[in-house]
Amino acid sequence: MPAAPLEVRNLSKSFGDRRALDGVSLDLAPGEILGLLGPNGAGKTTLVRSVAGRVQPDGGTLRILGFEPADDRARAVRGWVPQEIALYPLLSPRENLWSFGRYQGLSGQGLLDGIRSSLDWIGLADRADEKTDKLSGGMKRRLNIAAGTIHDPRVLLLDEPTVGVDPQSRERIYAMIGELKGRGVSLLYTTHYMEEAERLCDRIAIIDHGKIIAAGTKDELVTRTLGNREALTIDAGAPIPAALREKLVERGAAVDATKVQLSVENPAEQIREILGLFHSAGVPVRDLTLKSATLEQVFLQLTGRELRE
């Protein structure tokens, strides 16, 4: 059985008295995008830096395709795109790619091919020889990704790759990530953007206080955390009579002058019943909305904090 792209078991790390990682375990499957969500100081960065070989854990094990992070074989199959624009600003995109390609052991025609295909991939072939610090923020972000992928890694760590990027450039980066996934690259993706996690990630792991407190697909997380309930809101547009109000409250609804809010587990059946009550009371319904539970609600429920706190 081939080794998993990433296998983390009971990883722990302390900085002084602060426990940054407290028994973290997670797996990354081949070709999977695993989103890592957590509030500031939760341990995301320490975990990513441990996988990148930049933090020495105090305990536990960490394997990249079966190799320890510091092993040259792990370095060869791992790519890291740090949150900072970690490039040489005075060098051109071509020179930056040459440098990081060489640092990853590429040489000769393989290196030249890697540079050319990377420049095409990030759409900077026509600006390959300008100074990097003259490029736009979005272009630098794309080059930052290319510098971490020029050696065609099997496991890629993407640390908030869309921070400070305009919506158009963000879409382009999403497309690049999709292409990486299409190539079979396994990605560990940290982000502060909930919609990004929902859109891109196959699974999501929520980390808080150095522990993975939940992991799974979005639907699994919602079901496990909030059950199958959805939020139903009915706007009558006119005062709700006392008799109807009484019946709605009996069903657990919150009723104000004209609006009704209710958490429903079986929407189709319950909506039919409630609309029947309105109809019987002769009260018209002006608006009705049904909302699924969001990842944001899951996160709030699990951590007690907003993602950006």
Partner: protein, 430 residues
């Protein structure tokens, strides 16, 4: 007014936080003042000029010449050496004219004085083209001051330490030109000169008081080093300033390490297949290459426009240049690995490099410094580098003679690199 004071106070608060600026503003000037005060003024004692180290060879061995040597030894401005080994060893061999010349050529002393046979009996003569024996001063033309100091002191010491001999020479002249003294006059003169000799015996010598010199004692100065050089000090300045700027540029370029750490690039590099040792070795290679190029440009410029004889000293130049560039580059890496920010690096490199350059002779030749300062300067790599270049370009010593300088510079390079590597562990993993 209150706004002006607020602005001033704000700057003061910034200065208190900015240690680099604080060091540059207060520590560097005081350190520099102390170094140059030490070179020129002594430390707290009355200011005194440096002692000129001189080897004295007494080929005459007469009573008069011994008095003359004793007079030189009593001179405050001279540090007289008579023996190559321990001066206090009574059985120790004395310098010969040949060994004294070799010592000057090697740069052990800047000057030697040869007292020829017959000097004691006939130290002075009047009139031109006299057949009196001449004192020989063997000089290193890199030090233009030493022969002048010695030539002046020789006149003074002759006057004070051997007055009877001078008087006898004078009488001989009078006797020659006046038709001769009477026996009675001669007897009276002998009595007086005998008393004078007792008074000026070596045991009664005291340092001569300042006084004029009349040039009665004939002195011939011969440059034994650099006599054929077109421009005696230019090779020194090429080496001195070359080393200083090499250090500055190595420290500046080493600062790229700090920028890489601050930008996150260092983290990224260290996650690739480049280890910290490989990274530092790569930077050392780059800095050394740049250093070799810098010194080559400087010496080539010196050869083209200032008469530095580069073409005839290529092997020695290359060996010294590579050894110097390695040591300076490793020093730059050490500074960069110690410092936490660019500002810290600027302060520390300015402080350390300027002090090393002042002590090590990049700004002011070490051979013109007091002896203690000359020796103290050897704690700097500047001194070893300049000494090596001087051996090649100035003293034209054989290639093998620079091995101590090459060994020390290479050793310092290795030491600095090993320490830098160790300090750089803080960047490796947390």
């Amino acid at each position: 007014m209150s706004m002006i004071l607020a602005v001033a106070k704000n700057r003061l608060m910034n200065l208190r936080r900015d240690r680099a600026a604080f060091v540059l503003a207060f520590v560097l000037p005081v350190a520099f003042f102390s170094i140059f005060a030490g070179i020129f003024g002594g430390s707290g004692k009355a200011a005194s000029t440096r002692k000129v180290a001189v080897i004295v060879v007494d080929e005459d061995g007469s009573d008069g010449s011994r008095r003359f040597v004793a007079g030189l030894q009593a001179e405050a401005g001279l540090s007289v050496g008579l023996k190559p080994g321990d001066e206090k060893d009574p059985a120790g061999p004395l310098y010969s004219a040949a060994s004294a010349e070799a010592a000057v050529k090697k740069g052990e002393v800047p000057i030697a004085l040869i007292i020829p046979k017959g000097f004691g009996a006939n130290p002075i003569a009047f009139g031109p083209a006299a057949d009196r024996p001449k004192l020989s001063i063997l000089a290193d033309s890199a030090d233009p001051i030493a022969p002048q100091v010695l030539a002046g002191l020789v006149q003074r010491v002759a006057m004070t330490s051997m007055p009877s001999a001078l008087a006898r020479s004078g009488l001989a002249e009078v006797d020659k030109w006046s038709g001769g003294l009477t026996p009675e006059q001669n007897a009276r003169m002998e009595t007086a000169l005998g008393a004078l000799e007792k008074e000026t015996a070596p045991s009664a010598q005291t340092p001569a008081k300042a006084g004029g010199d009349g040039g009665l004692v004939a002195v011939a100065v011969r440059d034994v080093v650099g006599e054929k050089k077109k421009n005696p000090t230019v090779a020194f300045y090429a080496a001195g300033f070359g080393v200083m700027f090499l250090l500055f540029s190595a420290a500046g370029a080493g600062g790229a390490l700090i920028e890489e750490a601050e930008s996150g690039t260092l983290d990224r590099i260290l996650s690739t297949r480049v280890s910290m040792t490989r990274l530092l070795l790569g930077k050392l290679l780059y800095l050394t290459g740049i250093g070799v190029a810098q010194l080559t440009v400087m010496f080539t410029w010196g050869a083209l426009f200032f008469g530095v004889e580069l073409a005839s000293h290529i092997p020695g130049f290359l060996i010294m240049t590579i050894a110097t560039a390695i040591a300076c580059s490793a020093f730059g890496l050490l500074l960069a690995s110690i410092c936490r920010s660019r500002m810290q690096l600027v302060a520390l490199s300015n402080l350390s490099i300027l002090m090393m350059s002042a002590l090590g002779g990049s700004m002011f030749p070490r051979f013109l410094m007091p002896e203690k300062m000359q020796k103290f300067g050897l704690i700097t790599l500047n001194a070893w580098a300049i000494d090596g270049f001087q051996k090649i370009f100035w003293r034209e010593e054989p290639l093998w003679s620079i091995w101590p300088q090459v060994l020390v510079l290479a050793g310092l390079g290795v030491l600095f690199f090993v320490v830098a590597r160790r300090v750089a562990r803080r960047w490796e993993t947390s």
